[in-house]
């Protein structure tokens, strides 16, 4: 039935990304070894990149792989191995009684609320952004062009602000990670 309603490839792409995303996410929150959690995170990020490609966000898919799976996860792995915390954390003790069931109930309410909102409202047809070109989204190199002209015209101030943010965070990380020199 699904195959007749939708072209098989796009359904297959969705299923691939869904399996990658959900398996990776469940892996992140269940495995005990932080290194394995980081590797599961990579699976999730690849799934998200697949979903991006399927929705004609080609540039963001490439950035997702390069920045997230390439840089951020490597940073996680570097810190895990630098600190040597790849031993198992103890998860038996619960500081709050019934923390896990309460968290499960709260998360279930949030997800059900989100899905109910999506099902009942028409916010998908809301007002478009200031950079809306009025033409359809382009794929491939055209997508890079489209996104680039939006970022460097409409969102130029925000783009410059991210440059300042990155400089500040790099300086902050260096200051945090530096060992304090003892006065002689």
């Amino acid at each position: 039935m699904i195959a007749t309603a939708y072209a098989i490839p796009s359904v297959l792409i969705f299923l691939t990304s869904a399996v990658l995303i959900l398996a990776g996410a469940i892996g992140v929150i269940t495995v005990k070894n932080p290194v394995h959690a980081a590797l599961s995170l990579i699976a999730t990020l690849f799934g998200v990149a697949v979903a991006f490609v399927a929705q004609s966000a080609d540039f963001l898919a490439a950035v997702e792989i390069m920045v997230y799976a390439g840089a951020i996860v490597v940073l996680f792995l570097f810190v895990i191995m630098f600190l040597g915390v790849d031993r198992k954390e103890e998860r038996g003790v619960e500081p709050f009684v019934g923390q896990r069931p309460l968290a499960a109930v709260g998360v279930a309410i949030i997800v059900a609320g989100l899905v109910a909102l999506m099902a009942s409202s028409h916010w998908v047809t809301g007002v478009t952004s200031a950079s809306n070109p009025g033409v359809g989204l382009a794929k491939g190199t055209k997508n890079v062009q489209q996104l680039g002209s939006a970022v460097f015209t409409t969102y130029l101030f925000a783009f410059e602000a991210t440059a300042a943010l990155l400089i500040i965070s790099v300086i902050g990380a260096v200051i945090l990670a530096r060992r304090e020199q003892k006065a002689q």
Binding site: A25, Q55, V67, F76, L83, A150
Partner: protein, 101 residues
């Protein structure tokens, strides 16, 4: 013919829920950062889905900025984790209870 946008939105909602559950239940600060990344990616997926639905490049520009902020957040956050580990030899958030009332 593409799959309906609602499928991707539900997938993003479930991913957000998994990330939130992990953030609430795990003890290691590093794993909690990974759960925050999961939640940010769920939001990114929602942005891209609405970008496709509305034929609007603005959603993709937002995802770009979310990625930059996520990178900055991980850099500073892991720096803090390293600093705490030097003092406490642990990354468990249960050990950091000085501010408890």
């Amino acid at each position: 013919m593409n799959v309906p946008a609602a499928w991707y939105l539900v997938l993003a909602a479930v991913l957000f829920g998994i990330g939130a559950f992990g953030l609430l239940t795990r003890r290691s600060a590093i794993i909690m950062f990974m759960c925050i990344e999961l939640m940010l990616n769920a939001v990114n997926l929602t942005f891209v889905t609405f970008s496709r639905t509305l034929s609007d490049i603005g959603g993709q520009a937002d995802v770009f900025f979310v990625m930059v902020v996520a990178a900055a957040e991980v850099t500073v956050g892991l720096g803090i984790v390293v600093t705490i580990f030097r003092r406490r030899l642990s990354t468990s958030v249960d050990e950091l209870s000085e501010l408890k009332g």
